[in-house]
Amino acid sequence: MNRKRVLFVVVSLLLVLSMALAACGNNATPTAAPQQEEATQAPEASQAPEATEAATEAATEAPAEPVTIEVYYPVAVDAPIAKILQGYIDAFEAENPNIKVKPVFSGGYGDVKTTIQTTIEGGGKPPALAVMLAADLYDLINADYIIPMDDFINAMPDGDAYINDFFPAFMANSKYDGKIWSIPFQRSVVTLYYNADLFEQEGLQPPDSWESLAQAAEKLTIPGERWGIEWPSGWPYWLFQPLAIGNGQNIVKSPTEVVFDDPKVIEAVQFYIDLSHKYHAMPEGVQKNWGNAPADFAKGAAAMIVHSSGSLNGILKQADFKVGVMAVPGKEPGTYATVTGGGNFYIMKGVSPEEQAAAWKFIEFVTQPQYAADFSINTGYVATRKSAYDTDAMKKYIEEVPQAGQLRDMLQYAGMELSCMNLGKVRNIFHKYLQAAYNGEMTPEEAMKQAQKEADEALSIFK
């Protein structure tokens, strides 16, 4: 080959390399899409609740030097989160003139975590405060990205009362090693939505057991026209958990112990399959219908769906029938189960103590009952604190939308969301085999045994 050719080959190789690496890099950068979605929302500005009693004392406590903190924040629901949060930040800054809060919207939950991770691993400075999945707790502790909040809580006039006011189900993913590492913020629960008008027409009661759920679903199915129930399983662990919990065995036991091969869990997998194969009341196999299910339900193509509580507002807007919400029935009559999900506040390591203190101040501010209530009303998330439901705004809202009150009542049946060491790996293992069982590639027993084996291996490093 002559020189020109050599040059051409070298340039081509470099081109290929740069493309390959650009591809690797692409996935690390946050996508702008959620922000765009968010921006197209109706401009219903959430009015920040009136100034609070805390306002008067805040000015005296403000740190001497001005502090600026960043909050990394995902948008994961169909609500104008940016606008709502900015309203709270304005109110907070008015009360704390020495603290500036800069919200940074970073895409979805995964993007926030990835952005922070790449910042820290690249030697950069993380934000002081971030909203990340409650279930990410152990990964964040192991990576040494976050600090416990006990010092701040203990410094409060009545820290215990503050913590105890959060619903225990929402605090389940916050504690480790005797410490509190996160504060619940935007939280949801798995919800069974049912078409109450159809139930009434058919003389059915809301289901209170697996059997009555299956029978209702069977009765309400019209082949080719309406499914009795839709139960998405494209990303399946979360919506599956209520079945396992409802049979008396959650799939997670401790940070280093998951329970996939217990007969009760296997029975729960079988029940899901039975809804399709035995009762013919649900689409067969893995259902890739997370996005479609709420619309199917609202237009009458499904009599029941299992979905996030976060879809309530959207469903109520579209449905022209009475929408019932409840926890997923358990196996035994009169038992129910659900599981929590969503994001918590984390205070990051690697920023100054002043910034961490300012971050805590913002957490304290924005979790006040009236803000927790306002956030819930405007976003569809479940309010995180019991006292939020005693506010006038929330009482009035529940009068208009009684389902919002029923969501709160479901929390008593809530179990802990799958969260453990090496979460990404363990969750992928579980997904792989749960879907193999749903699709009939393996029996529930084979699948769960194999999942247990591989998960135990992935967790063995931590024992």
Binding site: L14, L21, N26, T31, D144, G291, N439
Partner: protein, 303 residues
């Protein structure tokens, strides 16, 4: 491509000997910093064990070829390689053949041809994530457009394209072909329009049929275009996985997971830096060998 060969004629060589180096230096610096250096780094870290989410393995430890051994013995990796092979072999030739046909179709001066060109090209303009979101609705069982269309054509097989382990990979391949064919068409179209007309006139006079002209004249003359198109199509097939994030997340049960998607999972879900680096090296080696083979083969033919 034809332009490049013109500008490389010796007649245009003038100026001091260092000038060419100065002129390519901006590109060279960028390539060194953002391509060569990360490659070296990936090769280096692939010999270490480092998990970002496991406290005691956060600091990298030298483990030699351990990561490569893990890959070779991992059934998941084997399945991913198999999926990737099916994906590349299934999408690249299909896209290229379609692109060539589209280009022939629209390379005519008929009224309204602009609209046809636009129709073939418009999937390229859509961002992959938006396109995949649209396809997600097309693939919906029962009432989705794709299934409705198939039913009209007499198809009565399974409809759960994204949830069925035997269909999910095919579904993401369909979206990839749909997205790419129009883009590759542009290169063939440009190539066709640059072909010398006298050769075809001469062939016509000699009585060569349309098919012979296409196969014996146009296609060989477009050899460089085909080389270029197949190279970028193969690279694309390895690097574009955005639609997999939207459509299947590699599922069900990993059945639609390809190399780059798996790499993302290992790096950002499992947080296994060493293994992810080893995967990066594998990816680079595969792509380099394909490109070099492709280049060498076509150069030999053309020599």
């Amino acid at each position: 491509m034809s332009l490049a060969s013109k500008s490389l004629t010796p007649a245009s060589r003038k100026g001091p000997s260092w000038l060419p180096y100065l002129l390519i230096s901006p590109t060279l610096v960028i390539v060194l910093v953002f391509t060569a250096w990360p490659t070296v780094q990936a090769i280096y870290t692939s010999f270490f064990r480092q998990y970002l989410n496991i406290a005691k393995f956060r600091t990298p430890t030298f483990v030699g070829l351990e990561n490569y051994k893990t890959l070779l013995t991992s059934p998941d990796f084997h399945e991913v390689l198999r999926n990737t092979a099916i994906y590349v072999v299934g999408t690249v030739p299909t896209s290229i053949v379609l692109a060539f046909l589209f280009a022939l179709l629209v390379n005519r001066t008929v009224k309204g041809i602009g609209l046809a060109r636009l129709a073939f090209f418009y999937p390229t303009i859509l961002p992959m994530v938006s396109a995949a979101t649209i396809w997600m609705f097309f693939f919906t069982p029962d009432y989705g457009l794709f299934n409705t269309a198939l039913r009209a054509l007499g198809y009565h097989g399974p409809q759960n394209w994204l949830g069925n382990p035997h269909l999910a990979l095919l579904a993401v391949m369909i979206v990839a072909v749909w997205k790419n064919a129009g883009y590759l068409m542009i290169f063939y179209l440009a190539g066709l329009q640059n072909l010398p007309t006298d050769v075809f006139e001469a062939a016509s006079i000699d009585g060569a049929s349309w098919w012979t002209q296409l196969w014996k004249i146009a296609f060989p003359l477009l050899r460089r275009t085909t080389l270029f198109v197949s190279t970028i199509a193969i690279i694309d097939a390895f690097q574009v996985v955005d639609h997999i994030f939207v459509l299947t997340q590699g599922g069900p049960s990993q059945s639609s997971s390809v190399l780059l998607y798996y790499l993302w999972q290992v790096r950002f879900e499992d947080q296994n830096v060493g293994l992810a680096s080893a995967l990066t090296v594998v990816l680079i080696v595969i792509m380099l060998s394909i490109t070099v083979t492709n280049f060498v083969l076509s150069e030999r033919e053309g020599a």
